[in-house]
Amino acid sequence: MNPALAHLLTRLYPRAWRERYGTEFEALLQTGRGDLRTSANVVWSALGEHISPIRSSKMDQSAHSFGAIMKRPSAFLPPAMSLAALAIVLGYVAMYGAAREPDEGSAAHLWQLLMAGQMPVLAFFAIKWLPRAPRQTLCVLALQAGVALAAMAPVFFLNL
């Protein structure tokens, strides 16, 4: 195959894949046939590697560490929302006391919105990350659940 075409086809793969296999793969392409069928096979495989990376967990372990996953918006947003909800409850209790009001005020509505609003984010996070890095994802989910429980605790214990 033409070296320029081999290089171009290799460039279709994700960077992490190229870093591991790029040199040898390009060498293989250069020594092989340069027909349309071969090119189509490479394009199809490169597309598959983008959609479902075979070696992502080994080649890019740091991207699947607990810290790296926690930097994802879908990982840190739910705890942030729970913390905001907790701050609202504590702020409300500090200002108005823990007496139960017959009518729910804006603080209660905000708390409900924050707690309910994180559910789709949590579901998205679990669906996306559980198959990729189960152990780290479970740790993040446990953290998210812990912070959510902390936000619910004052409402439960103070009968708000």
């Binding site: 040898e24 793969f25 060498a27 293989l28 096979n41 490479v42 495989s45 490169a46």
Partner: protein, 74 residues
């Protein structure tokens, strides 16, 4: 490797398919890379790979034997 597979199976793998298989086998720990020879990199089967291959071949052998036996009975 592509020629070897073609001569055994009669199917010619594309380079993308071949490297997809190599990446999977390496991820599973069934093959391991050796030091590169110029721009090429040879691979060898691991002890775990040998164990799995033996088990798979034994299964295939049983399936083939059962299939041939049933075909002969028809």
């Amino acid at each position: 490797m592509i020629e070897d597979i073609a001569s055994i199976c009669g199917t010619r793998l594309g380079p993308g398919t071949l490297y997809g298989a190599i990446a999977r086998l390496e991820q599973l720990g069934w093959i391991e890379p050796l030091p590169p020879e110029e721009r090429r990199r040879p691979y060898r089967i691991t002890a775990e790979g040998l164990r799995v291959l033996r088990a798979k071949l034994a299964t295939l052998q049983r399936v083939a034997k059962a299939g041939v036996g049933r075909l002969q009975a028809l």
